[in-house]
Assembly symmetry: C2
Homo-oligomer: 204 residues x 2
Amino acid sequence: MIKHYTAAQILDLDKVFRINMVNSLTGFKAANLIGTISEDDHTNLAIISSVVHLGANPALMGFIMRPTTVPRETYENIIGQGVFTINHVTEPMVDRAHQTSAKYPKGVSEFDKCSFDPEYLDDFAAPYVAESPIKIGLRYVEDYIIKANGTILVVGAVEHIYLPDACLSANGTLDLSNNETVALSGLDGYYRTEYIKSKGYART
Amino acid sequence: MIKHYTAAQILDLDKVFRINMVNSLTGFKAANLIGTISEDDHTNLAIISSVVHLGANPALMGFIMRPTTVPRETYENIIGQGVFTINHVTEPMVDRAHQTSAKYPKGVSEFDKCSFDPEYLDDFAAPYVAESPIKIGLRYVEDYIIKANGTILVVGAVEHIYLPDACLSANGTLDLSNNETVALSGLDGYYRTEYIKSKGYART
């Protein structure tokens, strides 16, 4: 049976039900950990499901931040230091990665509380997640406040990429299932993946 | 073995290799079809991997458009009519859905060329994809041009949701693997998914 919800009916839903349903609607999402550091050397780690590809030349990525729910430390650190890292979440990391979404007091590091090791590579100021096989170092470029609800699109330029040789194919594509990177659905649903096929460039 | 690429090395990569690698870096992506219609009733359908959740109350979604690669008709139709649909891609739809990315001449409908049926529901002007089990009708709200590379973030407000009862859990979460919604990696890699677990709200 097909259920139909209008905008008015969505507004009338129980709050938790609405959050869960609407967060599931976009489809599968990337599971990434964002690593940052403050001016006084406090590290911060936050799971985020909204990382989006913006361009390959130059390599640009964005992510959506909700100031009311995500600890502001991530954003403050990005603005303060000008750099951040994006680290893929794999299946063995799921429990610890999800735990970074708990509201720890300011100055408490999710690296410590969630048992991840900060890793500093090639003089880049922001900490990577040592346990993550795919690590990206980015420099803050700009951000946009979405008028409709106050969320922020943060744009970063890729400065460093670290990835396992084994998941890189001859044409540059990464097989993320080979690499055990998980997918997210909704707020807290974790999924492993299985490769179906690559379709190639579509021609008329 | 771990490979390391700096920003300068990424710029020096072969173009196709760079596009494939950088498009894979963000992690798994949602696979959706965007349905639109022009003022003179020509339908358009485009696969897009950048749909992102913006908020649940009100329900808002965004997607990134690259004017140089995505047919401008999608954007023109959204601005012209003020509405568009987002439709999940399932495993049986993969071949036809990917084919919508081919560059068909203006005025030629990807619904016809890729064997999808346009469906009009509850007096909403934009066409849904009849074959898709999860369909969302959205009204255009605003857009943002990303200065760094000219891509556009299009923001839409959810006006209608259609989904199968069977994939909706008691707390509102959708089990998308139950529903056969696929995940995308890079430009053209399609993956089925398998549910691992839900972690619930994380507490310190």
